[in-house]
Symmetry: C2
Subunit: 358 residues, 2 copies
């Protein structure tokens, strides 16, 4: 049997509650579809670890993860004890960069049984993929403050786009669009306002696009693009965006499907030189932590993406993915439901219900 | 009678169609409420001017606008003949900066008679103000390309935030929130990802906020904030954001009210050292230009904001503003309607209908 090594990192808050349910479901799927998951749990990348050690992760975190195929990740962030930028730059953002997970793939999909905040939209109307650049762009700690602490204070923040980093995410998105029925790609930009990087980004999109004659492309400024996620969601198929724009679109898109509580994400190093990371889009939700009421579906769906990626080309992973997604669909349609969707089921009950259907 | 000098700049595309209707209505309001508008038309800041002169505006544009109190502005942009970043940096963005219009005020409001894309929302549920920083931040042409044209190409794009520029927009937003019934302010940020400027921005929001004990404040990252514009629009009162984030939120907000075709904006220099500029949020819409079907309401509403600002403290302008807004409300409720709202009325018919009610 094919065996994959998985690092389990629950992190903070509801990350710790949804992790066991995600695991329950992926293990059920692995058993049914005939492969093995060799899982190891890590308690770092958490506020608790930070409280004890003054840093988010041990110095040898990379050595500890040696040989791992994927990180199955809950949520990180506990602003009461660690400032967000410290916890995130010390864990999640480090993984994305040091493991070169340059694709952040975020499916957006409206399900039957989930009330849609957009009037008159039904399942099928909202069904697209956001491909977010995940390692560079607007997320940097480059820059600084001049005349600090005075009235003349000036802050420079630098964004960095490389051709290497830009071309590969654009190419991934074109390939993905090309593999789909509609073959449509939307490129997020803001070249009319952000005058250096974004016109250049548009140029790279044109250059890569010249190799994909069958893909229809639509460049849209992020302002009007956000508006169209609300007004015309049916027009989207694959959407590619920079780190920041992808971050925004991949919260906004799920919001239009009723909740960001269901949205999964895959942080991929497509060449498999480094482990990829799979995590819900939602955060650690301190406000509901401790009650076992968080919806574990985003975690479970992220697990499905993990199995699909791990076994790509082998069939079994895709089947496991589809089985999990089918179980999620069925549970969303028929219940049980967690509180966010109007039910009373616990996190655990939902995990069990989905695992049983797999 | 108080007299105000207005520069009329229609710009491109439907800017040229909605301008006469905006003017019709503000002139009607001025007559009724007893003040005079001394209007002068300028044909520059347009693609036509660019075609003839190779630049968007004459060298002496500032001299030509000397003594003007406000710019009433249609829309600029005609990508078929001028790249957007050229037309915009050569006109609109120049006005915003050189006239130090550091506040971009953008009301978001759901009207009776306009189908809402959000399920179950009624007029009153969506009613807030976006205050956007309008002169600095992410919109710069600072930075550059290294290893240009090679595989190693690297692009740096700099954002610039000054304490001067940040404090004044935050202060304006706190004052505005403080003057309203709910006294609630949402501060857009992304300090968990954009590691230099945004934590600093948060710090300035705290510093200014310490002077406004009655205002309740909520800092939200732009990703989840965008999601909440869709999921929880009732929670917003005043929203303050950087240039880029404000740009996104002020297209997204209007989208949730059914169309960005109604949204107005005021580009203000509150100290009146320079003329302020009033323009619809929508662009020049090349696809519908020439048919006289564009909805002029955003232009008309922008005119109402202009009258209010010009006569602030004098009563008459506020009354004129309210009369125009009342007329817009009545027409949206009872018709006539332009094609974007399911009717067959022309741009002109709508302008006449609103002017008559004023
Ligand atoms: C046209 C563009 C440069 C402009 C902006 O981004 O500011 C527009 O979108 C706006 O919101 O006024
Ligand atoms: C927590 C934060 C740094 C992160 C991001 O902005 O990338 C999150 O919002 C996400 O989308 O994964």
């Amino acid at each position: 049997t094919p065996t994959f090594r998985i690092a389990l990192i629950a992190g903070d808050g509801i990350g710790k509650e949804v992790m066991p349910e995600g695991l329950r479901v992926v293990l059920a799927a692995a058993e049914r579809f005939g492969f093995e998951l060799d899982c190891r749990t890590f308690d770092w990348a958490s506020a608790d670890y930070y409280a004890a050690h003054g840093q988010m992760m041990p110095d040898d975190w990379k050595a500890q993860l040696k040989g791992v195929d994927a990180l199955y990740f809950g949520a990180v962030g506990w602003p009461a004890t660690v400032p967000d930028h410290v916890s995130l730059w010390g864990s999640l953002l480090k993984f994305r960069r040091e493991f070169d997970q340059y694709i952040n793939l975020r499916p957006v999909r409206l399900f039957e049984g989930v009330p849609c905040p957009l009037a008159g939209r039904k399942p099928g109307d909202i069904d697209y993929l956001v491909v977010r650049e995940n390692t560079e762009g607007e997320y940097t700690s480059l820059g600084g403050v001049m005349y600090e602490g005075t009235d003349r204070e000036i802050v420079i923040q630098e964004s960095v786009f490389s051709r290497h980093g830009t071309d590969r995410v654009l190419r991934y998105a074109y390939e993905l669009a090309n593999s789909r029925k509609r073959k449509h790609l939307t490129v997020a930009t803001k070249s009319n306002g952000i005058a250096i990087s974004m016109p250049w980004w548009d140029g790279r999109a044109d250059a890569i696009g010249s190799e994909y004659a069958d893909v229809t492309v639509d460049k849209q400024h992020i302002d009007i693009l956000s508006a169209r996620f609300v007004l015309q969601p049916t027009r989207f198929d694959v959407v590619v965006a920079s780190n920041l724009f992808g971050d925004i679109l991949s919260d906004l898109g799920p919001a239009t499907t009723g909740t960001i509580g269901l949205a999964p994400s895959a942080n991929l190093n497509p060449e498999r030189r480094f482990p990829s990371l799979f995590e819900p889009v939602h955060g650690s939700a301190p406000d509901i932590y401790g009650q076992n009421i968080a919806n574990p579906i985003a975690m479970i769906w992220s697990g499905a993406l993990m199995l699909d990626f791990l076994t790509q080309g082998q069939g079994a992973g895709r089947a496991a993915h589809d089985a999990i997604l089918g179980a999620i669909e069925a549970v969303l349609r028929e219940g049980p439901r967690t509180r966010d969707l109007g039910g009373t089921a616990s996190t655990t009950e939902l995990g069990i219900a989905i695992a049983e259907r797999v």
